[in-house]
Chain length 410, copies 2
DNA sequence: ACTGATTTGTTCTGTCGTTGAACTTATGCC
DNA sequence: GGCATAAGTTCAACGACAGAACAAATCAGT
């Protein structure tokens, strides 16, 4: 009995603009595969009248969200079509990731291409949140300037943060790994001179990494038909373990944006104590710290573990096998509850996939009820370490694709 | 990058009809509380022009989805408004539940009132699925006849089934408790003469029970503002343990309709063996069979356990405490992953709530990451044993509320 | 009882957006 | 060079909402 929103006539246009844009975006992403779509092709695909599509395309061309590509490959007789694709010349979006020990900012254009990027390997977070956020805003200011110098129109920005982010209010409610609590991120960022006039958003880094996965151009098309209806849980192991859920091609946010807390799913109630106060959380098995400690590499880095595993170090292999099984138990719960198609290993789990995947796969096969009907594939994320920043920018771009009208002038 | 559907002009009308209908439904449900809404009130609430609302209401009155209630309570000066409410005189829906050992069918009118009902306490399911389904179709035929004799226009029917239901294809893929596998339910039912011409659907019983919870008139308004934006996980313990998830006032289906398999979430990987083949599933702790066995009442009924607990039988109390804790562990995973507002105990868990809730609450508080920010309330379902049938009918009715246009004549 | 204020509901014109068909343009094939 | 074919454009018509003017029904005060 959720209330249905009323619709005005302009919503009709908004939606059809979005429909056209989404279709073009799907084919632009497909790169070499599909030919650039034409107005007539779009009309056939959407079911709209050709005249309507022409009008919508004209508006999108005028707003420079689309551009014509001269001659698409010809097929038979008849007037040749004008190919269409997303234009990377105007609209762009800012993404910023604020991790436990680093910060990255980037600007992506509407095609998803990265047009400016800067990383700060170690960020000084001894100061109060306001100071750390201001430093990230300055970093953002530099990539913004870079992007604007290229003639890009940056229409919004998003910050990726670890912890429980209240996406509605724009606040970071709880971030154990940053040591922050109840920080009004949006308000603090909004004050910064470098960000004046730029609409901002905040979201959880794992949720954004999942969005990045969805946007990643190289993603192999699975049976479901490419990115369109993709559904998966992406595991992002950094300091803690988080996850982002995508269902039906859309991120699943939960009631407040606090979904996907895979790291604190219980693997064994009588298991080791977790930093959150509970016992037997996934993080206590497969979190970076726990994992390194069990491998006898306490205080080391993720890379050390990979090397140890490559050298077939028994402690490392055992720790990874345990961690993979723990991941499998927790992810089985996620698949049982959410009915997603696949599991994707991202973050620091990705390079460890050769060792994590077999026990993980085993547990999924045993513990997911539907596994006897339909296997749960385990994939390795195609996005790299920048997943969260890329996803942050993608969040803004997705907003443009969903509601392009405001960018099309009067 | 989910593809956006194009919209035609008639969709505008459809959506605004639904918006009006949803608003009236919300207030009709509120029973004594709110006064019956007027056209002017609806215009103010939706933001539409008064003329537009009048036209929409006229169409809905003509289609007998709404009716006018003579004089709503007066307030001040001015022309008195005509009150509006959902009409129970025309549209109705059939719901059928096919449990492991019983079958129920009912017809609810658009206000949610039950207008016809018949239960078969024990169903003979020794025969093949086709035969059992045919028996349920005959049961349905009888309540249909009853409803039609009352002048009701039954616009659709839904079957509630235990197990993995493919809602898209209309098939029951796997039902351990029925012993069925890959049954094309919709095709078999569609052949039956009693159901000719009636659009049918199938869904999982727990998902439908959750929908019933959402539709239940007596549901206490929680902080979120009543049923509108409700979000919860409903636990339905019958033979197995299932759950239905409602997020933002809408059921969460998952990619295929296989979400909510709470019963097979792992509570302790080294725990007792479950019927599904895995070990330590929630069902192996809190499923009816396991629970009774641990309480020393193997082979007994749910009621025996309640009586034993009321008599403070130590074995029963211990079993219930363990089951509550196991439920808490599994539900903590659900809340961590889904960020729902609340947990609701339904089915055979409801009468046991006095004993299950305390340990459950305790585990939730310890294991849900967000619990330190926002408590996870545990409620007891307001719907009775008929939850799934009621929800099945509600599924159809919700479809009418969401898309009323087809019922409004040419 | 009458009058004016007030609020509800209806009617009508204007505007927006899509539809469908006719028309123009550009190409390949014979 | 002419014809078939397909792409894109133009235009009248229709459906739906918006906004304002208007009619109807009540209350309050004299």
């Amino acid at each position: 009995m959720a209330t249905v929103e009323r619709a005005r006539q302009s919503d009709l246009r908004e939606r059809n603009l979005a429909a056209v844009l989404a279709l073009v975006a799907d084919r632009t992403a497909g790169a070499g595969g599909d030919p650039a779509p034409s107005r007539a092709g779009l009309a056939a695909a959407t079911g709209m009248a050709r005249g309507t599509v022409s009008a919508l395309v004209d508006a999108l061309l005028a707003g420079r969200l689309l551009e014509e590509v001269p001659p698409p490959p010809r097929t038979g007789a008849g007037r040749p079509a004008h190919g269409l694709r997303l234009s990377g010349r105007r609209v762009a979006a800012l993404g910023v990731e604020l991790g436990a020990s680093h910060a990255v900012a980037c600007v992506r254009d509407l095609t998803g291409a990265v047009r400016a990027r800067e990383a700060v390997p170690t960020i000084d977070r001894t100061g109060p949140p306001a100071q750390v956020l201001a430093a990230s805003a300055e970093l953002a200011g530099r990539v913004l300037a870079d992007a604007r110098a290229q003639g890009l129109d940056v229409v919004g920005g998003a910050w990726a943060l670890p912890g429980l982010v209240d996406t509605g209010a724009g606040t970071l409610r709880l971030a154990p790994n940053l040591g922050w609590r109840d920080v009004d991120v949006l308000a603090l960022l909004g004050e910064h001179p470098a960000l004046q006039g730029l609409p901002l958003a905040v979201d959880n880094e794992a949720a954004l990494a999942a969005l990045a996965e969805l946007w990643h151009p190289g993603e192999p098309d699975d049976a479901a038909g490419g990115r369109r209806g993709a559904s998966f849980v992406l595991v992002t192991g950094e300091v803690g373990i988080g996850s982002g859920v995508v269902l039906g091609g859309r991120p699943l946010r939960g009631e407040r944006g606090w979904s996907g807390e895979l790291g604190h799913v219980t693997v064994d109630p009588s298991g080791p104590r977790c930093g959150c106060g509970a016992s037997g959380c996934l993080e206590a098995y497969a979190g970076q710290e726990a994992l390194l400690a069990r491998a006898g590499l306490a205080g080391g880095a993720a890379d050390d573990l990979r090397r140890a595993a490559e050298g077939e170090d028994p402690a490392a292999l055992a720790a990874l096998d345990d961690a993979g099984a723990a991941l499998g138990t927790a992810l089985a719960a996620a698949v049982n509850l959410l009915d997603v198609d696949a599991v994707v290993l991202g973050g620091s789990c990705a390079p460890l996939a050769p060792w994590l995947a077999p026990p993980l796969q085993r547990e999924l096969a045993a513990r997911v009820l539907r596994a006897r009907l339909l296997e749960v594939p385990v994939r390795v994320s195609a996005t790299g370490a920048d997943a969260a920043v890329m996803g942050a920018a993608a969040l803004v771009l997705q907003g443009v694709l969903d509601a392009p009208a405001p960018l099309l002038g009067a």
